[in-house]
């Protein structure tokens, strides 16, 4: 790792002393720490102001309007959406080819394996340029069983995907998702993911898309404490065709919750399922596919003919939690078990919706587990 990368990584991890040490060793890099240094210079903590203390004590009974927590959460989500969109516009293109060559699941797993944080669907956008995962080899190093890239000459990112004018905030999140390949549904009717990646499958011809992005709403814990409570959620947005044109070759329809090595074997392309992102929000684009049937949380009967999967409970929990919106700190999931394996899941927080249950099902489906329910807790 170059010194530049090491320094950037130290900053990303909040290791400021290490960053300072590296900058000191190589003054050419000092500009990277200037901003952090400048910001730390803003830290102030004035002496106790008895007037302020007296003011607080005199007003302890002051009536306050209740915080509109739902409104605040929604407002921040929109703010973040705009940020994400803007970031997508500004990020270098180097992270995109990685997405194009490897299933998203592999990239996520590889990132986790080398210690990167995959959350918010954005770790590649923000960390890849300074981390090993930016190299194709790193994916295979991190996950020795990972298949080789589908093509060593993957097409360059379509200009439209990265050079489009800045999207409106409402579109920004989806645009970002599209650029970074985080919103893949099984759009490739009949095509395998691998061939979709290799061909840089353009989804331009797809008709209506439905973006499903659950919105975290009010959280009583904002004031009361720090333990999140399950939230009402799952707002659906319909944006006819908006994201499709930007998806371009980055779309490869990965099923994020699948185990990497099982993915290519188990996936059935064109099955009409909306893929759900394993990043704390459900991201699904179902290109002209019919709405997922209500019974979709029921595993296909064919799964019963295969031997049950072994499941690492801890890893499964991590993956299952990735299906749940960030704002939800804990959720209980009940399994329906047929024979000796999971065929259906139901959350005891019904507001989470079918998308999340489908995503969780993908983690546990076909696995032999002990017990009939699991508590997922962050």
């Amino acid at each position: 790792m170059s010194q530049d990368d090491a320094l950037q990584r130290a900053l990303d991890r909040g290791e400021f002393d290490e960053a300072e040490r590296l900058a000191e060793a190589n003054p050419a890099l000092s500009e990277l720490v200037d901003i952090d240094r400048g910001l730390r210079g803003l830290r102030t903590e004035g002496p106790a102001d008895e007037g302020f203390v007296a003011g607080v004590m005199a007003n302890l009974d002051r009536e306050l309007e209740p915080l509109d927590e739902a409104g605040l959460a929604a407002w921040l989500k929109d703010e973040d959406g705009a940020n994400v969109g803007a970031a997508a516009e500004a990020q270098p293109a180097e992270v995109v080819p990685l997405r194009r060559r490897f299933p998203t699941t592999l990239v996520v797993a590889a990132a986790a394996a080398i210690g990167l944080v995959a959350t918010g669907g954005l770790f590649l956008a923000d960390q890849a340029p300074s981390a090993e995962v930016a190299s194709y080899e790193a994916v295979q190093d991190a996950l020795p069983g990972a298949p080789a890239p589908t093509s060593s000459a993957a097409p360059a990112p379509p200009a439209a995907a990265l050079e489009e004018p800045a999207p409106e905030p409402e579109e920004a999140q989806a645009a970002s998702d599209a650029v970074y390949g985080l919103d893949f549904a099984d759009e490739a009717e009949g095509a395998t993911e691998a061939s979709s990646i290799a061909q840089g499958a353009s989804a331009a011809g797809a008709a209506e898309n439905e973006v499903r992005r659950p919105r975290a709403e009010a959280d009583d814990s904002l004031i009361a404490g720090l333990s999140g409570t399950p939230t009402k959620r799952s707002r659906r947005r319909a944006r006819p065709g908006a994201a499709t044109a930007r998806r371009g070759a980055g779309s490869h329809g990965s099923v994020l919750a699948e185990a990497p090595r099982e993915q290519t074997d188990e996936r059935t392309a064109g099955d009409g399922e909306a893929a759900t992102g394993g990043f704390g929000v459900t991201r699904g684009l179902s290109a002209s596919a019919p709405a997922a049937p209500a019974a979709e949380t029921q595993a296909p009967s064919t799964a019963m003919s295969a031997p049950p999967r072994d499941l690492n409970p801890q890893a499964a929990q991590t993956r299952a939690l990735a299906c749940v919106p960030d704002a939800v700190s804990a959720v209980r999931v009940r399994f329906r078990i047929e024979g000796d394996r999971v065929v259906r899941v139901r959350s005891t927080t019904p507001e989470l919706g079918d998308d999340v249950e489908r995503c969780i099902l993908r983690v546990y489906q076909g696995a032999a587990i002990s017990g009939t329910e699991v508590q997922l807790r962050r």
Binding site: G38, N59, L60, N83, D126
Partner: protein, 197 residues
Amino acid sequence: MNPALMNTVDEAALLEQAQQGDARAFEGLVRLHQGRVRACATKMLGAGAEADDAAQETFIRAWKALGRFDGRAKLSTWLYRICTNVCLNRMRRGRRVHADLHDPALKERLADEKNLGPERSALASEMSAQMEAALGRLSPSLRSAVVLVLIEGQSHKQAGDALGVPEGTIAWRIHEARRKLREFLRPAEPQLRKAGS
């Protein structure tokens, strides 16, 4: 006894009493934490009456909700969380005072820096003003992450707890905020280095 440890012991005792309704104990907690909370509000809203009011509101809300504080996080983290939510709510309602971003406490501190010559002192003051102005241009979610992590020195974990988001989200926000700040401050970077050296 180590002053930090003494504060911790004091805090625990005060917290226990305050949770039983002892207002005088709560006053002690206000005294212990008012510096940080006011600094947080000032960085979020700019110096002035709005920030002071937000800091006061933070403590009042804390007092009203103290019974529900379960001690799993540090009291300071909980207060930061309330403070950032109060400030964000004020920003959302458009009550932020944009004109006054200069923190008088910072000016005082810079003036007190004995080892800075007049030129460096003026430069540092100017750069701080630019830094604060750049901070003011960040979106609320990025700004709150920057205030907690880069200014107040909290870990990603602590900031995540305070803002109710995962550590990774904080990492992204910090990364993105740095990128934007670099962009906002680009013309001033040479000065920044000079002031920081």
